[in-house]
Amino acid sequence: MSDEFDKKIEAKADTIVDAGSVPSGSAPGIDYVPAHEKPDQELYHSHSWWTTYVFSQDAKYIGIQYAITAIGTGLIGLVLSWMMRLQLAFPGLGILEPSAYYQFITMHGMIMVIYLLTALFLGGFGNLLIPLMCGARDMAFPYLNMVSYWAFLLAVLILLSSFFVPGGPTGAGWTLYPPQAITSGTPGSSAGIVLMLISLCVFVAGFTMGGLNYIITMLQSRARGMTLMRLPLTCWGIFTATVLALLAFPALLVGCIMMTLDNLLGTSFFMPAMISMGEKLSYDGGSPLLFQHLFWFFGHPEVYIIALPAFGIISDLISVHARKNIFGYRMMVWAIVGIGALSFFVWAHHMYVSGMTPWFGYFFATTTLIIAVPTAIKVYNWVLTLWRGNIHLTLPMLFALAFIVTFVNGGLTGIFLGNVTVDVPLSDTYFVVAHFHMVMGIAPILVVFGAIYHWFPLITGRMLHEGIGRIHFWVTFLGSYAIYFPMHYQGFVGVPRRYFEIYDSPYITTSTLHLNVFITIAALIVGAAQLLFLFNLIYSARAGEKAEKNPWKANSLEWLTPEMPPGHGNFGKELPVVYRWAYDFNVPGADKDYIPQTVPPSEVRYAKVEKT
């Protein structure tokens, strides 16, 4: 095979000098698209109910399984946050023991970051959208994809089982810092932490299987005419996030394995010599700082694993619902890729107060501020896309606008925390809590909602109820500001993070105590609004208004399937052929305000489209 292959390469290398033009001889024709490079993908056809709906190998079903599992787990995280908020507002009621508070905070943080948002964006939206948007019949490796979901489910079950073991779940904080994570005195320092670590390892293994699928599908299984630079930004966001995950999760995995060994075998990777309850422990000579480096080498890219898919999805929502092409598409792609690359060089901005050498702090503050540049570019481009656009204030658009505002807010406080001198007094205060909830909690969640309102018709063939949706939007948007705005102030006056009770003391302002009550009430209301949203999902899936085909008049391939919701194999007999990018909205000279990606140039001869 190899000789033959070399010859092919050689032949190709000689012909591609004038890339892009059509082989001479034949008349080019404006609708020319290269022929199929490979035979159609062979699909697995299920025959029973079990293999269709449960052990499904169809990416669309797997995506929905991922999404339901992630959202279900996220609800647990939400309930945990209510309990914490109640405890903070009304410490006199004794709602939570101190140890329970720590356990809840840990589980809440880990569930929200990994088991909700990562799984939902990559596993849920990735599976659902990548094959459809690329014009593929399915993921490249459907079987592996299925195993990926079941590994994720297993990871979730292991995580939740830690609520039922002696000692309960770990209370080490979602950062799981040793030595305290595995030292007696920390809740769940024996069984709880081990289950957490194992669950994370299983998650990483499962994710790797899925992630390889997303990458190969996007790189190797696109439709005819679908170049990388014609893909919707959603694909780019999820793709880059997946690359980050495949390179960042290894650090987490290694950290987890080492801590498991420290705990079970008594090795001292992370454990220094310590005295606990008057006794010298058997640990000796390990480095707690090493774990922090491993954790944050994973942890910071993790932030972008959540943010980049959100960036991509929001770009598409804005473009479709403002009927305008996305401003600076190529710049957006490079910004996503650039942010992804830079995100591996900023991790120690989480460790300014850890005792590492201050020179590191200087370096990491610089890289952190550099990453703000491509991020700001993205924000400007969203705003410029909206500028003079035909903005429809549909629900996805409302959420998109809310996302931009919230993300800018969180980004600005990020600049505070990125600078060593400002971070030192602010670190471990509620300012940090406010910052990361804005930027990686609320902002991506708003995108999730926007995306669900946008793609729900694609999944179920029905629209979500508009009225309930508007209530949901306003309560969630304003409510989350009511929750997190005051926290910035609390942080400035020095209220520490991860305290289960803010005592009435001379060091704490009275306003803090009142604000805590206010925040808690807001949190309960926002939480209730989510129940309304869940009701909307269930109700509309059964009895919602029937959606017409392509209800938002979008251009990308997922809406152009022969049936909606798309069937097995996505595109019927013939795979689509793509002639343009997904952003031909309001093109001068075209007779409709959008030109789907499958419309050949000869049908829109007089439209002045962007060359893509």
Binding site: A19, L246, L265, G266, T267
Partner: protein, 235 residues
Amino acid sequence: MDQAALKKLPRGWKSIPSDLNSDQTAFKGVNWGKAMMWIFLLSDTFIFSCFLLSYMTGRGSTVLPWPNPSQVFALNFMGVPVPLLLIAIMTFVLITSSGTMAMAVKYGYEKNRKLCGTFLLLTALGGLTFVGMQAFEWSKLIFHEGVRPWSNPYGAPQFGSFFFMITGFHGTHVSIGVIFLFIFTRKVFRGDFDSGRKGYFTSMKSDYVAIEILGLYWHFVDLVWVFIFAFFYLW
């Protein structure tokens, strides 16, 4: 990229920009599974790098002295302790198995079922020998020299911790590879790759390219061993 600049690129490189600008596939003519294996190996490289970097920091920051490898890993041969003897044989066997693997891939593509299967079997046996010798080395360290994951008589306890963890992780990789090598040997001899018989789990057609993919994994495991060898036995 403009035409003039494109022309100046060395051959082979020329195709990179045009491939990336093209539709359908970014890596032209590359099998999906093969591309996937490369990306998986990149991820796996990060895992081993994290392990080895942790080892370096761990070794650098312990307070107790680090044991001397040529003493700890010596093997008595006719009454004389020979440093690194066992490990030299292990390394030799593993590297050789990379050679037989390459032969198996070659004969696979030539559809020479017998030789392909034979070389796969040889590779599997090489891997098995390696794992066996590693088990021997572990038991020698544990039972005769008293090295434990949490302590050892020579100095820093992290020595045993890192050694068992990293060689164990690598040994697991080798063992998984051996299992697949045996499975593939069977499939080759049964003729699955000629008949395109469907996989038991995946229900996808078998193809000789699978042997090359397994080969990529196997060479990777060998390459990692070279680093582990250098960092543990020569440093």
